[in-house]
Symmetry: C4
Subunit: 243 residues, 4 copies
């Protein structure tokens, strides 16, 4: 079984690890249809990524279903293959967050509907606050449950250039080099899905798992009353107001 933890030695190692990610994430309902895209950073100077090609069933990625691109998202491996439509987002993240070794983008039901609930039409930027959960410690640099993570939500678009610019405007002013906890660990595209990353593929995969778990907790928690009948949501609102 492919071990997503070990650092890939070669491009082929990285490819096989990404193929394993695809099978796993499809089985978990996070990469259905031909949705999702995954990349690893294979070179930092110059910046180059290995990324999934466009429109492939992630449960059955072959070794030819990847393409090597430069910082502008242009293929540099002469394969003629068409990289993912969202390649520019991967490149933007890898550029803005110097520690990034892998970027994963998935489409889950909970991420899709939570991001939709938080961002009414006409609003271009929102956030999903996740607080008080022990599982927040699964996000790199977080050492306590007594905190919150504000997950940026960007309104979805088909214009990747425009979206990359919006993400850049949001992320560039933040300090991504400080040791410890980074400004954020991922973002949502409204009614679309989750982008997250990590120093390596194992960390990125862990972040997907943690975020998906937390999304489900937040969503289910909103409609779960306590035994005495007080809605959890009311409690959360009171707690947020005390922040």
């Amino acid at each position: 079984m492919i071990n997503a933890t070990a650092a890939p030695v070669t491009d082929m190692d990285a490819i096989d690890r990404l193929r394993a990610i695809g099978r796993e994430f499809h089985g978990r309902g996070w990469s259905l249809g031909t949705s999702s895209n995954y990349s690893v950073v294979v070179s930092r100077d110059p910046l180059e990524l290995l990324i999934t090609v466009s429109g492939k069933d992630k449960s059955a990625l072959g070794r030819d279903d990847f393409v090597r691109v430069d910082a502008a998202g242009r293929p540099v491996d002469g394969s003629g293959r068409k990289s993912s439509a969202e390649t520019l987002l991967h490149c933007t993240i890898a550029e803005l967050v110097p520690s990034v070794g892998a970027v994963l983008h998935t489409h889950s039901v909970w991420g899709t509907i939570l991001s939709g609930a938080e961002l009414p039409r006409g609003v271009s930027r929102g956030r999903l606050r996740i607080e008080g959960f022990e599982m927040l410690k699964g996000l790199e640099g977080i050492a306590t449950h007594d905190t919150f993570e504000d997950v940026p939500i960007f309104a979805n678009t088909q214009d990747m250039t425009e979206l990359a610019a919006r993400i850049r405007a949001d992320f560039a002013p933040l300090d991504w080099s400080a040791p410890g906890r980074p400004p954020c660990h991922g973002f949502l595209l409204s009614r679309h899905g989750l982008y997250t990353w990590g120093r390596d593929l194992a960390e990125a995969r862990r972040h997907i798992e943690i975020f998906e778990f937390l999304f489900e907790c937040v969503a289910r928690g909103r409609t779960l009353p306590a035994a005495g009948g007080h809605a959890q949501q009311q409690q959360q609102q009171q707690q947020q107001q005390q922040q």
Copy 2:
């Protein structure tokens, strides 16, 4: 592992791919009991389909559990096997939509209850509107999230001749030959299940996945409040009224 993507070369290839579909869909909760039926178009002139026989456990289809039928749904392979009770619907779809290479019919919880919610008793035709989701792009010819798909819902019946006529009356006036986005990608039978199709089995399977994901998003989204308490459903209603 059977690759549902490659075009079947022989009837036996098609059979083995459909058997793999059965195992997969049963495991995913979409083909429980002896429900569901699957077909591939094996000849266009004359129109002939290979379809699952009636009343079989889809998790354990054998190579003998298929029958070849003509455009009227009559067996033409001399096997004496009884084709699916809904054979006529597969034939009707294959006839009305000239690009169809495969038709898949499944029974999921979300599809069953959503179609029931939208179609009160006594109403023979309704629709389920799915809009604003990136995953709509998994339906062939849709290139943006900023659109909607109206999934026709037909009241269920045991009279397949009558139902086929209703579907024909609905579909025949539409332009299925225009390039790009087709009039629709599937329909629901109320409190029964989903019919979808594709140019080949891979596309039909992808459409099942996409529709099931979207059904779950629509259903769960209706009762998910935003953090501030405004029901998503209210937002959707406002958005629909602006349409």
Copy 3:
């Protein structure tokens, strides 16, 4: 892979099929802990059943985890093994329903909470009405969606003798020999689980699948609003009043 469809030839065949059922049902969340019990009728005159022993993990049943019992639930194979605590219920069902070849009892979340919702404390008998679903046709003898199945719900107890007598009082007056649709296909024990049966293990397994699917549809359907906001539950109540 064990084929649950073929009629068992020997007791060992039956045992291996029941072990496969256990692995499958545990994986599907219906036989967790050491819950559940399964039997096949191995003799009709005299009536003898092969049944799971008490207190075993159903995901790992060994060949020694079964015992042969008579119509009174007493072991007759000299093994010294202790049969399931609910053996008497299996024997009662097998006796009252002459066509029974297998009896399966499972514990699912949906069956547990639906039966609890329908039967407040102090009420000893209720019913869960399931109507209008195409999947009802997965229950033997039902040929249309345009019908309903009233699933009896018996208040739970630890006194199997008393419970068997209650079931007998309920079932004995009914005509189980008429061809076609039987009086019912299963019953629920409140906040406990589902009992169902079939002419053979394949039919009993199909009935478990169908009931579990329908329980989930009923439960989820009760809180699913239509797009326009009218609760499905209100529609169902109106429909039931018109019955």
Copy 4:
């Protein structure tokens, strides 16, 4: 396949059984990210535990991912490995409950949100009452459904010494040696997860299964109306008031 039922003969047996638990629990959504920790008691006099090391992916535990610790949670095997951050809780449980052979800690969505709903901020101790379910009989020493289990909920913290003291203050006055039903079978850490134990790993695993099933029943049951519209929660409240 590793049989979690047989008593481990050697430390390596115990390790392989815990690795199997990790794969299973990760697949079931109870040990995602690098959450959870598992231990077995390998010596009673002096008390020594074999426990998972800190920060490992439970789906891929290697044989080196365990460490042997003493009653104070200090490593005694000279490996230099860092044991789980929550080691002290395992040691405390093993010390207070003399029959304990294994302790399992998991993070599930239902346990996380139920414990959060029951324990508003600022409250350090609560309980989750689970009553009337047949599945309660899966907890050791419980022989009837007609009872309830109050699962203690402790407010979460990062200070394990303080938490261990709180658990000790709660558990030490109770009689853990009486035969039959113990004072409780597990506890929840609010918005964190479940701790449970057993005489051996099989019993601890069974307790995790039973608790997770019951958590799901309690949570889903709170928002499931009866067919006639009376919320189950109202019924439960009436029943609890009669206690």
